[in-house]
Point group: C2
Chain length 384, copies 2
């Protein structure tokens, strides 16, 4: 297999883009990444998207975005794995280059959610749950988040306020990210007084639905410097699955898919958690960051929240997370989120994270979680 590098990055601001269609969002990110890579053409396009069939009345996004970007004819398909669609598409693009099936490949994550009422978005998000055993019973994505958080508090003896630092850190980091949706800091008081969404999940435990698109361009590392002075090497990209229904798991508080995905990534890269300088967690809910930190070996079981309470997740902490705002404050355009995470890790490794730069960042990791953990993709990137 060939060594693979990211040679270009692109992203749109995350927010409510009522004036832009999904294909325009996808094109904007793709175009920005191709310019960044000084690439005039790509051979293939993989589109990560989770909700477009339900929310925009449009599937067939591979061909649609390829054509709109002037790339008519190239190989292009959509990849879906619920909220992990973005990084799942990245995994396919990576495999195409690593396996020698293509040289220059684009991976776009794109999602458009803000044209709809919350209940419509909620119904669409439920497609990533187990329809027969969760969705049919009225359980929502938010509901699963609340059940997991409640159980975590019960099992490990935490209060709701103990989760505050996840949200405070995300919002603090979003301030300097021009592409973030919510660029305002919040305090512990804001967190504690936040409106409940599904108790114990409040407004500030929960990431906002949003529109956005992000893109990376991939190439064999051997030719990466023909395109960019700052290639970012892909050390590992690993997918693992678990039950889609949270209640089917041996232990709902142990994200086995996340653990397996991380282990596969560590094994492929010959690395462990101690080597990682920053981690983009999938903080759809604060509790998901805690579970991800634990599954990836950064904290023992039940100690993920403690990392946040101790301030170890900040930019100068032991393991900085959500360094550009995370899902919470950068925003969560579901199928695009996995690509935003990778673009942000790559920005850190290129030294382009501005006020949010993690000092001497050499190895960065992102974990993109689908549903409540049914599909998990872990990617490890390295500064060159």
């Amino acid at each position: 297999m060939r060594d693979v590098s990211i040679i270009g990055l692109g992203q749109t601001p995350v927010g409510e883009h009522w004036e832009l269609s999904l294909r325009e969002l996808g094109f904007n990110a793709l175009n920005a990444a191709m310019r960044d890579a000084r690439a005039e053409r790509v051979e293939a396009l993989y589109v990560g998207n989770a909700l477009s069939g339900s929310l925009t009345g449009q599937e067939h996004l591979g061909a649609l975005i390829a054509d709109f970007a002037g790339l008519r004819g190239i190989e292009a398909v959509k990849v879906e794995a619920a909220c992990a669609s973005g990084a799942a598409a990245f995994r396919i693009g990576y495999a195409m280059v690593a396996g020698g099936l293509a040289d220059i490949v684009a991976v776009v994550g794109a999602e458009k959610m803000s044209d709809h009422k919350p209940e419509t978005v909620t119904a669409a998000m439920s497609l990533g749950l187990d329809g027969d055993y969760e969705g049919m019973q009225g359980l929502t994505h938010l509901g699963v988040g609340a059940l997991l958080m409640r159980r975590y508090m019960h099992e490990h003896g935490y209060e709701r306020g103990d989760f505050a630092n996840f949200a405070i850190t995300a919002h603090a980091n979003a301030r300097a990210n021009p592409n973030a949706m919510y660029r305002s800091a919040i305090s512990a008081r804001h967190f504690n007084e936040a409106k409940p969404m599904a108790d114990p999940v409040s407004l500030f435990d929960s990431a906002p639905a949003a529109d956005g698109a992000a893109c990376v361009i991939l190439a064999p590392s051997q030719i990466a410097r023909d395109f960019t002075d700052k290639p970012v090497r892909v050390r590992a990209s690993a997918v693992a699955t678990d039950t889609v229904a949270a209640h089917d798991r041996r232990d709902p508080l142990y994200l086995e898919g996340a653990a397996m995905s991380a282990q596969r990534a560590y094994a492929a890269a010959g690395l462990g958690p101690d080597d990682i300088d920053l981690l983009e967690t999938h903080d759809a809910f604060t509790v998901m960051s805690a579970l991800s930190l634990e599954a990836c070996g950064f904290a023992a079981r039940g100690k993920g929240v403690r990392l946040a309470m101790d301030g170890e997740i900040g930019l100068r902490g032991r393991i900085p997370i959500t360094t550009m705002g995370g899902l919470k404050a950068r925003g969560n355009p579901v199928g695009a989120t996995g690509l935003y995470q990778l673009v942000e890790v790559a920005q850190q490794l290129r030294g382009e994270a501005g006020d949010n730069q993690v000092a001497n960042a050499r190895l960065g990791m992102a974990q993109n979680i689908g549903g409540s953990g049914g599909t998990v993709v872990t990617t490890i990137l390295e500064r060159q």
Copy 2:
């Protein structure tokens, strides 16, 4: 890149499976293929599906089917490219094995459509069209088929009845296929008197919506005989795209995506149309078979229908097509169709096509078409 072979085949009957859920259909095909391959485990699963979000309230099919099949933990994602989703998923599975990222891979196509009223299915099928420029105007998949057929008749001087042999051949071949939805022969009189759907497309020009799932298991050719006595070699798998909207094409009667996809497959295999012993066309409408035959070089422009009129598409004709009934009579479970085509070509090459066996078939091809030609996947298989 490694040489890749199909080591196992599985399929469910195509029809109205009101008693089976989508995950059960997918599992049944996967289980049959794993037994056929004598494989106890696969490393990865790629699921081709186009409509599940709209029609079954379920996405996240990769993890869902993997878990239901007892394969919890493996890499698994869904691939979507409208009606070409099945073969697009096959292309990903093929790439994973060819590139050395996995050894034993399953590709499942699964779709469930019959629980819904026709108008619901029609709306879901429209997601594969251009939503802004076709769907929004009320154009349907059937409507595009009618426009293409009308234009073909006008440009090339055919009557509606000249298309009859596509349907007659498909229905004749479905008789001996135990998995086909409509196992009854039809005559020219049936065709000519058929109820119009969208003039000039009649009931017998148009493939039926259906439920079904089909699966192939892939492995490096080097170890294929550890699993099966009848490996089928994958000579090429190629994806090409075109505009999603039919009116955006330079010539709506020239499927440029189909031509490019075929050319890429021929080039990869070092073959041409004269080498191919049978072709599974994507006969969602009779005119699509004509356009596919032309795009793949089996007939000159405007002469695809002539091949049918001359009886050259039958089992003993110059280029047998729809040898197990095609979309028309085997049925069209949209996202599964690309896998049915590949299973059927493989059956022919293994000499297991029964009464429908194409004599001495060595090289078989399948062309899976998404939308009206926005994504096209061409696969060439070879008897070992």
